[in-house]
């Protein structure tokens, strides 16, 4: 198991390195680094200073070295619009996005697995068909339109929930979370739900397929022959077996959720990384875009790695592959 994880870690680092190189090439070699990294509002003197500091008058490989050194120090450029280091801006907004993504992930699992499990067990094909068709509806709805419609229904028509923004937050370990306040929850529920529906549908389908397949397995028959109650068979045997593929896919989907959050945050004016990215694209705040790219790659690598760890913990066949009793 350790060998497997180390290999994945090495792969991840390789991806980060490759991505950093790609970004460097894209910005410094192919693009015009002066346009990208130096604010158009800078005057002549500032430009000169920036050019020297970034090494833009030096050979390319020197620029790469400077780039790497600054990157490792956490310096990926300064935002044109806000005037602060881009990395700070992004890290500032990260908790909001992560909070949204996590809550959406939990919602999608909480909706998806029971739905898929139920559909897989349902003796009547009608409820099974209904859930499966419903799941297709779930991942067909355009994310942003769903958000708009939810706002229309709950904020405009029924007036029970706010139309956007993040609610009150409480600081835990230095991180602001809106989960812990009622107002925060009211602001969180619609965006999280919007983000969750797509994944919930996919998870439901996965859980359904897994359940159908597991029910055909010999060990389920043996469990029945032992006289176990259906509740035990489903709750322990079936559930634990389908968790493995579900968790694997879900973990990888967390990354995708952070990607989709870009849209959801825009619709709900949620102050996260995604909205920052969109705003930066509008306002041509290129250092922020570059920094976002690099940070996002690192995040994905970390997420993939964590998923690998969880997977090995869940599946005893992988965990104990080195030990034959």
């Amino acid at each position: 198991m350790l060998a497997f994880l180390l290999r994945r870690l090495a792969q991840g680092l390789l991806v980060v390195a490759a991505m950093a190189t790609l970004v460097f090439v894209g910005v410094y070699a192919l693009g015009n680094p002066i346009d990208i990294l130096i604010s158009p509002q800078a005057d002549e003197l500032e430009r000169e200073q920036a050019i020297v500091r970034l090494g833009l008058d030096r050979p390319l490989w020197v620029q790469f070295a400077i780039f790497l050194k600054s990157a490792l120090r956490g310096d990926l450029g300064t935002s044109f619009v806000h005037g602060v280091p881009a990395v700070d801006l992004i890290l500032d907004r990260m908790p909001a996005t992560l909070e949204l993504a996590f809550v959406a992930l939990i919602l999608s699992i909480g909706i998806g697995i029971p739905a898929g499990l139920f559909a897989g067990l349902a003796p009547r094909s009608l409820s099974r068909r209904a859930i499966m068709t419903g799941s297709i509806l779930g991942f067909s709805v355009p994310n942003f339109w769903l958000g708009l419609m939810l706002i229309l229904l709950f904020a405009v028509e029924l007036k029970v929930l706010p139309a956007g923004g993040r609610g009150e937050t409480r600081t835990v370990f230095g991180i602001e979370l809106s989960l812990l306040t009622l107002d925060g929850l009211r602001h969180l529920i619609l965006p999280a739900l919007t983000l969750a529906i797509y994944k919930a549908s996919l998870i439901a389908r996965l859980a359904y397929a897994g359940t159908r397949e597991t029910l055909l397995q010999e060990f389920v028959r043996f469990a029945r022959a032992k006289g176990l109650s259906p509740r035990r068979i489903v709750g322990v045997h079936v559930l634990k077996t389908i968790m493995i593929p579900v968790v694997t896919v879900t973990g990888l989907e967390l990354g995708s959720m952070i990607g989709f959050a870009v849209v959801t945050e825009t619709v709900f004016a949620w102050p996260g990384m995604g909205k920052l990215l969109i705003d930066s694209i509008y306002r041509l705040d290129r250092p922020v875009i570059v920094a976002y790219l690099v940070i996002i790659v690192i995040m994905f690598v970390v997420i993939n790695f964590v998923v690998d760890v969880i997977y090995t913990l869940l599946d005893p066949r992988v965990r104990l592959s080195g030990q034959e009793a």
Partner: protein, 327 residues
């Protein structure tokens, strides 16, 4: 004679597929006395496994038991409420399957799977259940049981997994154990070990045993009585010595004749020409007639089971009564 512990009468289990009705079991009757060993022999597709699953009421849609009676110690199982069946399964009647690889859930530990079998039928503490599980493992010959309990199925060999399954099946000292080809997937050397284990354990606890197999040689030393299945029906039934010494049904004769006998190297093995009929398209009369050398017009009508000597019955219009005994 005391009441049989298991009495199957005229069991019919059919599967209703889109293409038609598959008569997997079409009129099976046998009895089993307490402590007796019955060998149920037949080729793949003859309906042996379906019979076993029918007895435990494990037949799922699109199949169901359409007719017949199954009495366990006097209690009727056909039409029995599911809750009652659940309390019987694993407790008074147990079953082990062919593939030990998938009989145990690969993501759960052995002790989990054993303890749940115990607590499903009795209210005992986890510790007490674990001790019982440990003793059960030792009884089937698994060394260092405490460590084994905490292991996962994939860490065991095939033979050991089957032993675990046997241990689980016998946890509540059931009255009947049905073993559906439990050694087919194992090495030959392990086979005989497992056979001996099961035989010994059942004798010790007084459990009646139905041993399902396609291999006649296996039941020869193991069973008290033997029933031969063909195309969903039992075609011959009787004490094992009697059936082997004087097989009445041409199919049984063919099966026995196809067994290689040590010391007769040059004697050609008998082959039964043709193949068994598909259970979806059974011929109207005797199902074996198309392959039988003794068939004639009378075989267009399905024969009944007729006793030819006490306890030895056959389903054939032309049983081989006169021919000499086979070694």
């Amino acid at each position: 004679m005391s009441q049989p512990i298991l009495a199957v009468a005229n069991l019919r289990t059919h599967f209703f597929a889109r293409a038609g009705v598959i008569k997997a079991v079409d009129g099976v009757s046998f009895t089993l006395r307490a402590g007796e060993v019955l060998g149920l022999v037949g080729e793949s597709g003859s309906g042996k496994s379906v019979t076993a699953c029918s007895i435990l009421s494990l037949i799922d849609e699109p199949g169901r038991i359409v007719a017949g009676s199954i009495q366990l110690d006097g209690e009727e199982l056909v039409g029995c409420a599911e809750a009652r069946m659940r309390s019987l399964r694993g407790c008074k009647i147990a079953m082990i399957f062919q593939d030990p690889m998938m009989t145990l859930n690969p993501v759960l530990r052995i002790d989990t799977q054993m303890i749940e079998a115990i607590t499903a039928h009795e209210k005992v503490s986890r510790r007490a259940a674990r001790e019982r599980a440990q003793r059960a493992l030792e009884a089937v010959g698994i060394a260092s049981a405490p460590e084994r309990l905490r292991a996962y199925p994939h860490q065991f060999s095939g033979g050991m997994r089957q032993r675990v399954a046997i241990a689980i099946a016998l946890l509540h000292r059931p009255q009947v154990l049905i073993a559906d080809e439990p050694t087919t997937a194992l090495d030959v050397t392990i086979q005989s070990q497992i056979l001996a284990e099961v035989q010994g354990l059942c004798a010790e606890s007084g459990t009646a045993l139905v041993w399902i197999t396609h291999d006649l040689a296996v039941v020869a030393g193991l069973a008290d009585r033997i029933a031969v299945m063909y195309a969903g029906r039992i075609v011959e039934q009787g004490p094992v010595d009697a059936v082997f010494a004087r097989p009445l049904h041409p199919y049984t004769r063919g099966l026995i004749g196809s067994l290689p006998v040590p010391g007769q190297r040059d004697a050609p093995l008998t082959q039964i020409p043709g193949a068994p009929p598909s259970p979806a398209r059974l011929p109207p009369g005797c199902a074996f007639a198309p392959r039988c050398g003794r068939a004639d017009a009378a075989c267009a009508a399905a024969p009944d089971m007729i006793d030819h000597e006490p306890g030895h019955a056959v389903r054939c219009w032309h049983p081989d009564l006169q021919s000499k005994a086979m070694a």
